[in-house]
Symmetry: D2
Subunit: 337 residues, 4 copies
Amino acid sequence: MSSTLGIAVIGAGKMGSDHVRRIGRTVGGARVVAVADPDGDRAKEVAAGLEGAGAHTDPAAAIAAPGVEAVLIASPGAAHEEAVLHALARELPVLCEKPLTPDPAGALRVMEAELRLGRRLVQVGFMRRFDAEYERLKELLDAGGIGRPLFLHCRHRNASSPAFFTSDMLISDSVVHEVDAARWLLGQEVTAVTVLSPTATAAAPEGVRDPRFVLLETSGGVIVDVEIFVNCGFGYQVQCEAVGEAGTARIGDGHAMVVQSAGRWGGEIDQDFTVRFADAYDRQLRRWVAAAARGRIAGPDVWDGYAAAAVSRAGLTAAHSGTRTAVDLVERPALYH
Amino acid sequence: MSSTLGIAVIGAGKMGSDHVRRIGRTVGGARVVAVADPDGDRAKEVAAGLEGAGAHTDPAAAIAAPGVEAVLIASPGAAHEEAVLHALARELPVLCEKPLTPDPAGALRVMEAELRLGRRLVQVGFMRRFDAEYERLKELLDAGGIGRPLFLHCRHRNASSPAFFTSDMLISDSVVHEVDAARWLLGQEVTAVTVLSPTATAAAPEGVRDPRFVLLETSGGVIVDVEIFVNCGFGYQVQCEAVGEAGTARIGDGHAMVVQSAGRWGGEIDQDFTVRFADAYDRQLRRWVAAAARGRIAGPDVWDGYAAAAVSRAGLTAAHSGTRTAVDLVERPALYH
Amino acid sequence: MSSTLGIAVIGAGKMGSDHVRRIGRTVGGARVVAVADPDGDRAKEVAAGLEGAGAHTDPAAAIAAPGVEAVLIASPGAAHEEAVLHALARELPVLCEKPLTPDPAGALRVMEAELRLGRRLVQVGFMRRFDAEYERLKELLDAGGIGRPLFLHCRHRNASSPAFFTSDMLISDSVVHEVDAARWLLGQEVTAVTVLSPTATAAAPEGVRDPRFVLLETSGGVIVDVEIFVNCGFGYQVQCEAVGEAGTARIGDGHAMVVQSAGRWGGEIDQDFTVRFADAYDRQLRRWVAAAARGRIAGPDVWDGYAAAAVSRAGLTAAHSGTRTAVDLVERPALYH
Amino acid sequence: MSSTLGIAVIGAGKMGSDHVRRIGRTVGGARVVAVADPDGDRAKEVAAGLEGAGAHTDPAAAIAAPGVEAVLIASPGAAHEEAVLHALARELPVLCEKPLTPDPAGALRVMEAELRLGRRLVQVGFMRRFDAEYERLKELLDAGGIGRPLFLHCRHRNASSPAFFTSDMLISDSVVHEVDAARWLLGQEVTAVTVLSPTATAAAPEGVRDPRFVLLETSGGVIVDVEIFVNCGFGYQVQCEAVGEAGTARIGDGHAMVVQSAGRWGGEIDQDFTVRFADAYDRQLRRWVAAAARGRIAGPDVWDGYAAAAVSRAGLTAAHSGTRTAVDLVERPALYH
């Protein structure tokens, strides 16, 4: 391995600079050659620590910079579509943070661009697929270890939500991870969504419906229930229990070290997804770099990004209307079979 | 303690003869003096093992037998109302297996009889209230240990269901336990029920919708979800996770002994409720005997039996209609406050 | 059951009055008819709550009181021998709190008295044998579930020790429970003892060697290691991991309810043996009452009490000398086979 | 990062080829440029898959090959000393699989060579220090989370041992990992060793004393007990419970995914150290590559290798003699403070 993959990082906020750090420290075979952020100072600051990396305010310019062989998009969701299309125009492999686009229509436009190229270049950053526990659960399900699945019981909890987090974002930003995980674990599409909301927790910001209970129905007759609770106070937690015809399997307890002290047994709960999923982010990036170097992807594709956006959209409708809402998907192109 | 409480046991089937055994072996201060069963031979067989106990085919005769000071009813649900009314006519303390009556109307007639007496003599056999783990969870909730409750996530699984078990009975015979447990744990009434059904398990008898997912909404804005799965194959399991504003608490894992062998760690799952709740049944009976000796009850009362019947009825409507169904309760009489 | 067993309780301290409470509340078929304590006021106080029970300062008088059909001894260990011999002189069934006697010689004298009677009337209060988890472990071992045993890894921890607790008592009063449990679980005698002591914990009273590490070797080549730690600070805990040729089994985690709150998952640790072993004490007493009513015992016998005293004695020698010390036992009389 | 570290791998057996695979797949910034093995065909086979890597039978030749900037030694222990000295002669950073040398004398010769250079270039492959659970335990201990340590209770189990495994190797090859882990976790030296052996398991090869129980005493008064069991049959397992003045902490349960099926709850036990410690091996190599590129080490040093060899030697004496054996260490040179 005498050369390394040149990467343009679009978005130099928390996620973007985390990825830059990862490329430098734990992912071999790659280097950041361009950083773009609308805040030019921030782009410069991040690029300053990198030998030979240029700073940009325009994503298109970063993507077109010399030495760029792949694009990592970590800007806000609304900016994803344009950046992905620029990368596709140059036939560059892309790793795009979720959501691929905030709405199904944008995802369909990306899909059309990729279909014109005739090959899959865009990977969506649903990093749970790279988590060791999720991988074990997936293997178990695929091997029929608990028989045909009937339920997924999911818990998704954050210690607290940022100030800008709305009732809708519990679904579009948080539950969207369970949507992808459920689709991937089951190999089925989501066909309908129902949303229930208990009395909001006292810790929820004024007007925010937190927690919520989201029910997904799938093409294979599985029921997926998700407790989403973004101001639970006690930590970050992602749990999933699959119930099949022949047994159940649960991941996410996080009970690796058991401490006894002061009258209690137990352990610490991770406080942040960057801790809980640190290994998953590393693994996602390493595998993507290795695949991108060969012009391929190694994870969820544009169809997955589109389906997540469509379910997310139906979820918002279900939440607003209080009723069960069907999910409509376009026909799946052969490229994504 | 020089004398013992004389008990008439109505119903000499599995539950009835279990109670007879308990009174003899693990519950002090009581003796069975009359046994009734429509099958006279069975009544005689059970009574034969008891010194000085008479066998009857007519519940009323058993209840009127000399020495009867309290009545334990373990006959089929449809026969409960008549036996309870006979006992109340004689002002005898009653322990009635659940359901108090199969329908809310019957429970209301029992309630009227008790209201005429002006005191509570009837206890309903929701034995989970006497389980050590449920008691710990109740204490924690009452003490505010996890703050105001928002969710109860419940799992109720049987290895297999008897041949006569119908889709309706998943709700009226099984989930009714969660209905009582939720009402008791939360101190709230259930106000609405929704029922979803995934594809039935291959192990379900022809035409039986198993498993199901039952959603209860409560007067305090809590959402209670119940996975009821009566042909899960792997054992008997009752789990409950309470989620509050300040934390969660889970019971029912049953992980007391951890074995490692042949490439696996873990343990056995109880195969039957008589094993899982053996201590709860003992404790229920001991406390009832002690209370009955003083003309009192020590557990769920007729109001609890009525409310469970009303929620159960709404649950069946919800299951048949596929829609959210409200629960209507009469006003709660002062006797039950 | 029209009559109840009349019991004389010798010793009205914490253990004695606990047993009195148990007989009244949770154990049927028995009543206390005499209470003895050197502190006459204490004896009167305890007896006062019991209908028809006399108070005594002399154990012999209590044992000889009218209506006494069985004797429960909960006085200090040094007083056990005399009380047991009085009871045996009257051929009364005995439940004697551990230790049977503080030294092997005393236990041998009790054994001789029982041998003269030709039947076993004395049960020793090693209540762990009645604990549900220990019973499951015993069943597993007896069934060969983990193959032939090779190790028992034991932890025995108290939050803190009473002021009178000495370095020796860690062995003679605490580890003696593991001695009995190991003998019972394995069906083997202990043949040698070694004691190691790490630096004492800062919480240990001046001059008390706490914690200690006690190694028992058995007649079947098993090694039993015991961490005894009586000022561990965090609670009361008794754990045992059996390691066999085909697997391991661990009890005592006490993880029945899992709570998540304030950044931590876990649960409470019992603070006292009366909590941890409440059910075991109840069950021990219920089974002893039932057996005593038929002139029998239902638990560890005088041989078990003697063997425990002999191992305890060897343990003290080992602790004082710092070397491995063999255990010498007399030949086991046929009565105890 | 435009250039990568050139590595000579000494030893192309299981461990050596595993490391080659790791350098290629999961560790960036490095490439293998020379492979040495006494079996020339094996060296060629491993080198064949690597662009520009030469195959050698002589370790010295491989170490002297063009482009070699660091040396990874994975040959049998007896060959380590010579290879390390060759590398030191060229002032190359070294990662040497454990043991550094089989005997303390060899380790002292390596130490002298390094002392002459005046800087630490040799890292010993005790990979547990890079395991996430061990790291958490170390952090907890260092932070005083459970107070001053008093005990480490360790379990080290293999499903089965290779044919060449002797009674001595349970100590020198297996327990040596606990020796290093204990020294590192506690920051203390081991001062004495005692070895007990229960009856051997039926699965042990003829003449092999398996399992054994090894007791280490440390300079800080901590007692470390190790159950080493290399034919336990059920899997690979490394557990450690630290007991301190204010609590305990346990790692190694490996209970990430809980499965319920066929009457049992639980999960799979890893069958091999390459599975259990896969991440630790990756992390060890990544950190070493990063450090070696700057001429440094990032893990256990020659002093650690020497101390482990000295304790291992004392352990063998203790096992053969059946008595407690003191560990003698030379004075620790300033370079290793």
